[in-house]
């Protein structure tokens, strides 16, 4: 029987070992792809084997499963190409660091987190372009996140609480610390954006569970204001985007801000919060993989307005993209809806205006996501475009995302909850009762 203290090291070590073991396949992109997918699956099976034996965080064990799953679909959906080789290796490295940050105890978890954020900041610097001056803000945000994670490991309260909260605001994007999220999703290469959109918010939620109960009320109130601003800002910005990656980045910012609002009210991270964070990340990840399919066929800088009629030319793609879009805009029976509904029903909402804004943000998603999907799938079929439906790996990747989102929408959240977390009626705590 393995020692409980060793399990986090094993969970973190498997993907890192996988990265090392994949090194010999670097010259062959196809073999590298399948090697990285295989190691991500091994990592997933290790998580399944050990999950119940590690210290259960308050947000439950769902995040642990989602990390290797997201790595698998990101690598599977990415075409085998020589340019995507470093991103595959880094996906495994990030997975290892992420699993360490979630399953280990402090200070190891905080060191892993600091290392991860520094690596991402470094990568953004490596891919910085003068055409995108705003990515400096992203680099700065991740550097700040790394610094705060390091400070929270060493400093005493209340400095550590505030530092930890800022690190969380970088990881789960919260206005005004959201630039890192935008930069990572738009500037990072290959399979990394679709993995990072799941990885970082999950790590942030893990930190939030410890940080939120310790922050003063005034800070929590400020957070809830920023959250409401972020929810509306993200939705409005997403409406104005024509670039798909930016649209998805702003859309996910809006949804993550909703989580922040609930977290500021309940001052904790629950399995329902994990469900919302995990499924929003996964749905965005799936849409990014789906967009990657288009980029693979029609080029990196393709304008979505120049494509239409995919529904008749690529029926499999059309069905899966439609289902992913439904999930991403928070419609039942998918996981995003289940997470959102779970929070609506279980967390006390402090103000009617706040509830109104969060619902508007939820509503706006059906506008900008549906517009994007409609633009791509429907309309006149273009004679000058060659339509090639999904390849096996792409199909498998998107199908897995849809099925997991569906399963998470139907499964009870108690399945992933830690013992002792009960769900009670909270009518008594309703602040505007009289």
């Amino acid at each position: 029987m393995m020692d409980t203290l060793l399990i986090p090291w094993v969970l973190a070590g498997i993907p890192l070992l996988g990265a090392l073991a994949s090194l010999p396949f670097m010259p062959d992109p196809e073999r590298l792809k399948w090697s990285s997918v295989a190691w991500a699956i091994i990592s997933l099976s290790m998580v399944a084997g050990f999950a119940r034996r590690i210290d259960m965080p308050p947000e439950g064990i769902l995040p642990l499963y989602l990390l290797p799953l997201a790595a698998t679909i990101s690598n599977l959906g990415q075409p085998a190409h020589e340019h995507s080789r470093p991103s595959r290796m880094l996906t495994l490295v990030f997975l290892g660091l992420g699993l360490s940050a979630v399953s280990s105890r402090p200070p190891v978890s905080l060191v892993s987190l600091t290392l991860l954020l520094m690596l991402i900041a470094g990568l953004l610097y490596r891919h910085h372009s003068a055409l995108w001056p705003r990515s400096w803000w992203g680099i700065g945000a991740y550097a700040l996140g790394a610094l705060c994670a390091a400070v929270s490991a060493g400093a005493d309260a209340p400095l550590s609480s505030i530092a930890s909260l800022i690190a969380c605001a970088v990881l789960i994007p919260l206005v005004p610390f959201h630039d890192g999220h935008l930069a990572a999703l738009t500037r990072l290469p290959g399979s990394l954006p679709s993995f990072i959109v799941v990885l970082l918010p999950i790590l942030g939620l893990h930190q939030l569970g410890a940080a939120m109960p310790t922050v003063p009320d005034s800070v929590a109130w400020t957070v809830s204001i920023f959250a409401l601003v972020g929810a509306s800002y993200g939705a409005l910005k997403a409406l104005a985007q024509s670039r798909v990656r930016l649209l998805l980045a702003y859309g996910s910012l809006s949804f993550f801000s909703i989580l922040w609002w609930f977290a500021a009210a309940s001052r904790t991270a629950t399995p329902r919060s994990a469900l919302l964070v995990g499924t929003v990340g996964l749905a965005t990840s799936g849409l990014m993989v789906a967009w990657q399919v288009i980029r693979t066929r029609y080029g990196d800088d393709v304008d979505p307005q120049a494509i239409s009629g995919l529904a008749s030319g690529m029926p499999q793609y059309a069905v899966l993209l439609s289902l992913l879009a439904l999930a991403a805009m928070g419609l039942p029976p998918f996981g995003v809806f289940a997470g959102f509904m779970g929070l609506l029903l279980s967390a006390p909402f402090p103000s009617l205006a706040g509830l109104f804004i969060t619902l508007l943000a939820w509503l706006a998603a059906s506008w900008y996501i549906m517009q994007m999907v409609q633009r791509l799938l429907f309309g006149v079929r273009r004679a000058e475009l060659r339509y090639t439906d999904l390849l096996h790996a792409e199909f498998a990747s998107l199908l897995i995302v849809v099925l997991v989102l569906l399963a998470l929408g139907l499964a009870p959240t108690t399945l992933f909850a830690s013992k002792g977390i009960s769900s009670g009626v909270i009518g008594e705590s309703f602040t505007w009762n009289r």
Partner: protein
């Protein structure tokens, strides 16, 4: 119990039969799928019998004590209301499905379309038999998306815009519904129907929206649910999606107007005990319903397209139905939506043939010939007068004087009598077109019409009310909750009566070529009103302008926030 589950499963099976199978066997599979659809109807009818004789059936696949841990607690609750709706939906579906097999024959998208029809039926059945608000909302949302898919055609820009409008407008109403669910759970701690009604009645809550503005919990929750119902039932001002979806295949409209649009009426009836606790919500429903009925009917008169005309007729009828709910006559509203559903499905299925015929026959539809016809005889005129004005007055006096029903205290009875009068007089007025027929036949038809309508209202509707709401105290409480101030009620009845009589007199006289001295401003007003009503009160333009304003705002914000979007 199994019977309740079999009905939706049969429809799901039908969808699978159509959807999956080898190429070349599509037509055979489509015909085969008609059997499970038919069997679902028989199952629904059997369920109606079981529920009528043995009481409601409840099936729960979840633990009530831990309902919050499940995002979607799956369960079924079938009472008489659900069973009636199930029978209506499956009955109409059998006709529409069989019609569609022929109508869509050799169409490239027939398989997808027929599968979607079966799937929509499945969703509708699950929705009307939901055990709790959460499950109802789940299928309510799926229905919104299915409507979007059914109402659009991949390659037609107008249809796509209409489908997008349908989806976004329905989502606005759905958001209000979701807010209602969240608020109901926060206030009463349950989403189970019966439990919710009991807790709402036992624990009144006052919400302070802002200083000086208080509202009861039941009013807030029922208002949000009502806003949700407004979307699906195309109530003003969220009615725009219905005319916008008119490019869809004709059988879709039959299903839409006979089944899907009834969802709002069903929701209000399902939550009747909650609505019955809030007079404010019922009064608002009455105002919205009346406004929708008037505007829908007025816009219908000014349309020049058969499908749009029928679409606005449905909007008007739905307004009428919501108005009945607002008056506390919930069962009357269900009776109305069943009758309207059957009528409109027939008309829509026929309208496809009319359009085809008009395309083949250049002289179709025929224009009226202008040959001078003999006017109405004295006998016909007298019968019309007696049946529309004298007999109703007689009934009123008998009810009040002989039967000693206190009409002045019972607004519900007056409403019933008023509807009888309006409906029968309207029907009798249309008989005046039968001018060529011998006058005694027209007179007999007028009397039969009056008898038939009185019978339907007094016996059929009364029996139906007793069937759906067996407890007369409950019915009386709804009517009481919907009661208006006496002076307002009397004013409305008198105004409506005067307006109706004046309108009929005007129509009668103009139809018979009599010259009327009208002030110039009335003629001017008529012309000025025609244009906005023909253009549907420019509501589509206002909707588009709102969308453009939001987008302009978003783009302005995007431009200010330099960096990412350049």
């Amino acid at each position: 119990m199994t019977l309740v589950l079999i009905v939706p499963l049969l429809l799901l099976a039908a969808a699978c039969i159509v959807l999956f199978g080898r190429n070349g066997s599509e037509y055979a599979r489509m015909k085969l799928a008609a059997y499970p659809v038919g069997a679902a109807f028989l199952g629904a009818a059997a369920t109606l019998y079981v529920v009528t004789t043995g009481g409601p059936v409840t099936i729960q696949f979840y633990d009530l004590s831990s309902v919050a841990s499940f995002a979607i607690p799956i369960g079924f609750y079938v009472d008489r209301l659900s069973a009636v709706m199930m029978t209506l939906i499956t009955g109409v579906s059998v006709i529409i499905y069989n019609y569609s097999i022929v109508y869509m024959y050799q169409d490239r998208h027939a398989r997808r379309y027929l599968a979607m029809i079966c799937l929509t039926d499945f969703v509708l059945i699950c929705m009307v038999s939901s055990a709790n608000l959460m499950m109802l909302f789940l299928f309510w949302q799926v229905l919104s998306y299915l409507l979007y898919v059914l109402a659009h055609n991949h390659a037609h820009a107008g249809t796509l815009a209409g489908a997008f409008k349908t989806f976004t407008l329905l989502r606005i109403a759905d958001t209000a519904f979701l807010a209602g669910i969240a608020l109901a759970y926060q206030l009463y701690g349950t989403l189970e129907f019966q439990e919710l009604f009991i807790r709402a009645a036992d624990h009144p809550v006052i919400l302070s929206l802002w200083p000086g503005m208080d509202m009861s919990g039941t009013t807030a929750v029922s208002l949000l649910f009502f806003a949700g119902a407004m979307g699906k039932s195309a109530q003003f001002p969220i009615h725009l999606w219905l005319p916008g979806s008119l490019f869809a295949p004709t059988p879709v409209h039959a299903l839409l107007h006979a089944g899907i649009i009834n969802a709002g009426g069903f929701l209000i009836n399902r939550l009747a005990p909650l609505f019955g606790q809030s007079s404010t919500t019922l009064h608002i429903a009455f105002v919205i319903g009346t406004l929708t009925a008037i505007l829908g009917a007025s816009m219908m008169l000014a349309q020049n397209d058969i499908k749009k005309t029928l679409g606005f007729s449905t909007i008007g009828q739905m307004g009428y139905m919501i108005m009945e709910c607002g008056l506390g006559a919930f069962a009357l509203a269900v009776f109305h939506l069943i009758a309207h559903g059957l009528f409109k499905a027939t008309v829509f299925l026929n309208c496809g043939n009319v359009i085809h015929k008009a395309r083949q026959e250049p002289h179709f539809p025929h224009v009226d010939d202008h040959v001078e016809e003999p006017g109405l005889s004295r006998l016909t005129w007298l019968t019309g007068f007696v049946t529309t004005l004298f007999i109703p007055l007689l009934i009123l006096l008998i009810t009040h004087g002989v039967l000693r029903i206190p009409l002045l205290e019972s607004q519900g009875t007056v409403i019933f009598l008023f509807f009888i009068w309006i409906t029968s007089s309207q029907a009798i007025l249309t008989l005046t077109r039968l001018r060529q027929v011998a006058s005694w036949k027209v007179s007999a038809a007028m009397l039969m019409t009056l008898l038939f309508i009185v019978f339907v209202y007094l016996f059929a509707v009364e029996s139906f009310t007793e069937f759906l709401y067996p407890n007369p105290v409950e019915v009386a409480s709804y009517l009481r909750a919907a009661g208006l101030a006496d002076w307002l009620f009397d004013l409305m009845i008198v105004t409506a009566t005067i307006l109706t009589v004046v309108s009929w007199s005007y129509l009668y006289m103009t139809a018979h070529g009599m010259s009327l001295r009208m002030p110039a401003w009335i003629d001017g007003l008529r012309i000025r009103l025609y244009l906005p009503f023909m253009n549907r009160l420019y509501a589509d333009e206002i909707y588009a302008m709102t969308g453009q304003t939001i987008m302009r705002l978003a783009h302005q914000l995007d431009k200010r926030d330099r960096g990412w979007s350049r």
